[in-house]
Amino acid sequence: MYFQSLDALLHMDGHGVFVWSAYLITSAVIALILVAPGRRRRRFLRQLAGEVKRQQAAAGDTRGGD
């Protein structure tokens, strides 16, 4: 650990604002690109499951797929 205290870590000799904001924004963007596709996939699967179930109910068929 290079820094002596939490305060030094946050302040970084006056460069803290820059470093921390860069890291924070980067983390946010990374989190976004990591989470978005998973959410899109799950939402689509849920929607499709509903659709398939409705179709099966309409056809009076309870087997999964065919």
Binding site: H15, G16, F18, A22, I25, V29, G38
Partner: protein, 248 residues
């Protein structure tokens, strides 16, 4: 060899294999990212000229490097789609564009933030910076063109043409901007250069670059999986998967 290509063209196989790759690659990536971040942020000594602000290097450089590499991934996928009409290549190209744009954005943004303490300004019309901005436009162009087409098959072809045309352009942009720059004013702003990099900075940097490559791969695979399902919505394997709640 042939059977491998044949399998690559098969959506359920690709969906399955990418799932199992992600199962170990994703945690590894996250681990590397966090390790690299903590290492760079907490455990390295500050640069003697730039002080602590140089810590931005651990996100800035990996993002820039991978953003550039990503364009070639996208363009090659586009070429494969055009030449061999492979649908999976289309999926890959579509998946790569937004990730590349996001990484380019990170590189630009961290660069701008870094510039303020080091150069005293947010933005300089330096060769590298301008070419990065152009790269962002190239990525955005592909995303926008894809969205503008209703027929997604046509969209894939159109974007493939566009990204190939852009590839020819990238090296030209690089070289030309360098020449142009050297003409106008002496390089008052110099990147620190590899030579001055101390091993204690180099190792976390290398780790971060690797982590960003892995990150790109993970996001690419995840985007492709989502896209695959939507394209194959009418097939049985996707319907079964949906009924099984996504596990399968």
């Amino acid at each position: 060899m042939w059977s491998f290509f044949h399998k690559l063209g098969s959506p359920p196989w690709l969906y399955g294999i990418s799932g199992s790759i992600l199962r170990w690659l994703l945690p590894l990536t996250l681990l590397a990212l966090v390790t690299g971040l903590v290492w760079g942020l907490l455990f390295t000594a500050p640069d003697f000229r730039q002080g602590n602000s140089y810590r931005i290097i651990y996100i800035h450089v990996p993002a820039a490097v991978v953003a550039l590499a990503g364009y070639y991934v996208m363009a090659i996928a586009g070429a494969i789609n055009l030449i061999w009409k492979m649908k999976m290549a289309d999926v890959a190209m579509k998946a790569a564009a937004p990730i590349g744009a996001a990484l380019t954005f990170i590189a630009l943004l961290t660069g701008a933030i870094w510039g303020k303490p080091t150069w005293g300004t947010w933005w300089v019309w330096d060769a590298r910076i301008t070419s990065m901005l152009i790269l962002l436009f190239l990525y955005l162009g592909v995303v926008a063109l894809y969205e503008a087409y209703d027929n997604k098959e046509a969209a894939g072809k159109a974007c493939a043409v566009l990204s190939l045309v852009g590839t020819v352009n990238i090296p030209i942009i690089y070289k030309s901007v360098d020449w142009w720059y050297s003409l106008h004013q002496p390089a008052s702003i110099k990147f620190t250069g590899e030579s001055s990099i101390d091993p204690s900075m180099l190792y976390p940097l290398l780790l971060m670059i690797t982590a960003f490559y892995a990150l790109f791969t993970c996001c690419l695979l995840m985007n492709m999986r989502a896209e695959l399902l939507q394209r194959e919505a009418r097939t049985n394997w996707v319907r079964k998967l949906a009924l099984a709640g996504g596990r399968g």
